[in-house]
């Protein structure tokens, strides 16, 4: 899975819709349709794919930190706005750590990060009962090299939309 493929939703709609289907965590990614705005595609501002790719589904952290950077706060503000505009969705926030650290400490650190993101969303008006958390510690890296370039992407809190009354 690639991190934040920053594809702006301009023009090539059908191509983007095809890409989004590769992402298992995207709900309701609609195939088919062409030419017009495709419901569920990244061009549809109400779609999880749009949330993931355009709003940004994740924030990154410094080594052993769970403090939200200004950049992370901007992304979370966007997430909060989206969640407020799409009240039928609930979200699970996954906290992760890089591999520098012991297994159990990193589990607790991932929980801190997920909770920091959750608290921020709540402070921006999202109801707490729409937001759950889970920590994976260092068990689920997305990048597997052992350099800071990979580590910085693994130290993350990812907001995963887990349910909707929408199709």
């Amino acid at each position: 899975m690639n991190l934040l493929s920053k594809v702006a939703a301009i023009g090539a709609l059908t191509l983007i819709a095809a890409c989004s289907n590769n992402d298992p965590s995207a709900l309701g990614g609609g195939a088919g349709g062409s030419g017009t705005l495709v419901p569920g595609s990244p061009s549809d501002p109400r779609s999880p794919a749009y949330f993931q790719q355009t709003v940004g589904d994740r924030v990154l952290f410094l080594v052993d930190q769970s403090t939200l950077s200004p950049q992370a706060q901007t992304i979370l503000q966007g997430q909060a706005d989206w969640l407020l505009a799409n009240p039928d969705f609930v979200a699970k926030i996954e906290g992760h750590a890089d591999e520098q650290g012991t297994r159990e400490y990193n589990l607790a650190l991932g929980a801190r990060r997920a909770n920091a993101a959750r608290e921020y969303l709540i402070s921006r008006g999202v109801a707490g009962n729409r937001l759950t958390t889970v920590s994976y510690g260092k068990e689920r890296p997305i990048e597997i090299c052992s350099t800071e370039e990979c580590y910085s992407k693994n130290r993350r809190a990812v907001t995963v939309l887990t349910g909707s009354t929408l199709g």
């Binding site: 591999e99 520098q100 012991t102 589990l107 889970v134 090299c145 052992s146």
Partner: protein, 439 residues
């Protein structure tokens, strides 16, 4: 698994040799710091009958492997032997063993009758020409032949070193396969030397950090079965597990048994904050042991059950602390450079093993319980999670290699820092928990 292993002390009648109860001059003082391993010979045990022939060879091979694996003993190859041992009761030709500089000699015989296997053995001090301890016999079923070999090794080790042994013991661990970003993990158990691996869970859910009960018949571990990390207890014999209901929280993990097996201490996360709790297993009631905004995890009881060593980042970085077993004021014991985690109290009570992270490297180290005499035993890209052998002489841990093709392997190292070696497992391995000596 073997059901019952009867260990009988048999006064094997050997009229020509006096039986010395006390240990003779053959003695390996481990604490002196062994540089030169003691040379020993194990001529292949004598089969009493044709059915015993293969077992006799295999048992001899496992005994040699156990003893050489300690780094304290050096095998003298059978190519060098002058004497052949063709009868267990024939007098030992000490001159022949002295000539090849074998200091210790182990002779034995194996009998197989149906499914029943019997091993008899003697340990000899070659230079004094005397038997070390008494001849002994172990009996069990044929499929438990490895355990009987380990029991012989335990006797040899104990008689020569004067210390408790560890060969007839098992290790619980997490078997790992697949790349780092799709790692499949299964709970497994094996003999201490990597033989007889048995899988206890499938890889459907992530499993972490098993811990043996004091008697070795149960395991505590953490699983994502419900989607959230939760603590489970598993009956090893029946491979039957159940979730342990903790206090409300987003996750519970890092469970360890108390030495009396009646309670567990564990980490519970509530609102992003992780504290230590203790659960009475009979009542299921939990009480809080720590209450700080810091991460508190990786607890380990002292052998007498009176204290708990754990990891906390209340000072800003993860460090080691000791508190009374019922909670209360904690004393920091780690003051060296770097970050300290996963403390484990030694079965002897005198040392604490831990993971240390400093300047981009990981180490397994030991220190006294007041934090003094810190010694690092290993160094690599990533070493973590030490567990003690039942006699407190050896530490097993996880070593993960670097990069995209990185792989987890179990390693063991002597507390002197010598004899670092991988433990062979079918796939990768992590999070070992060394169980007690078996009965």
């Amino acid at each position: 698994m073997m059901k019952l292993l009867t260990s009988l002390l048999v006064g094997l009648t050997f009229l020509s040799a006096p039986v010395y109860a006390q240990s003779g001059p053959l003695r390996l003082e481990i604490d002196e710091g062994i540089i030169e391993p003691m040379p020993f010979a194990v001529p292949s045990f004598v089969p009493d009958n044709p059915e015993a022939a293969q077992y006799a060879q295999d048992i001899s091979r496992v005994i040699v492997s156990d003893l050489t694996g300690t780094g304290l003993f050096r095998e003298i190859s059978s190519d060098a032997f002058i004497s052949r041992v063709s009868s267990f009761d024939a007098p030992v030709q000490f001159a022949d063993w002295k000539a090849i500089n074998a200091q210790a000699l182990v002779t034995g015989a194996v009998n197989v009758s149906g499914k029943r296997l019997t091993v008899r053995f003697r340990v000899w001090d070659v230079f004094s020409g005397q038997e070390l301890g008494n001849g002994l016999q172990f009996a069990g079923t044929t499929d438990g032949w490895r355990r009987m070999a380990h029991k012989v090794s335990d006797q040899v080790y104990s008689r020569i070193t004067g210390e408790g042994a560890y060969f007839d013991s098992r290790v619980a661990f997490v078997s790992e396969s697949g790349p780092k970003d799709q790692r499949r993990k299964r709970l497994a158990i094996m003999d201490y030397d990597g033989a007889n691996v048995q899988y206890l869970t499938d890889s459907a859910a992530i499993v972490l950090a098993p811990r043996f009960s004091p008697t070795g018949d149960q395991l505590l571990y953490t699983s994502y079965e419900t989607g959230q990390p939760r603590i489970y207890v598993l009956d090893v014999g029946r491979v039957k597990r159940q979730e342990l209901k903790t206090q409300e929280g987003t996750m519970s993990f890092s469970p360890r048994f108390s030495p009396d097996g009646r309670s567990i201490v564990y980490s519970l996360t509530q609102g992003g904050n992780t504290d230590l709790w203790k659960m009475d297993l009979a009542s299921g009631q939990s009480v809080r042991l720590t209450n700080t905004p810091a991460i508190e995890t990786a607890p380990s009881y002292s052998p007498d059950g009176s204290r708990i060593v754990f990891e906390s980042d209340r000072s800003g970085t993860p460090q080691l602390y000791i508190m009374p077993a019922n909670g209360g004021e904690a004393t920091r014991i780690s003051f060296g450079q770097g970050r300290y985690g996963t403390p484990v109290w030694s079965p002897r009570g005198d040392l604490i093993a831990y993971t240390k992270q400093n300047k981009g490297r990981f180490h397994i180290g030991v220190m006294r319980t007041d934090g003094s005499e810190e010694r690092l035993l290993t160094a690599s890209f990533l070493d973590e999670g030490p567990t003690w052998s039942p006699n407190g002489r050896v530490i097993m841990f996880t070593r993960e290699t670097q990069g995209a093709s990185g792989r987890s392997t179990l390693y063991s190292v002597d507390i002197s820092g010598r004899n670092l070696r991988p433990v062979r497992t079918p796939d990768g391995g992590s999070d070992p928990s060394w169980g007690p000596l078996q009965n």
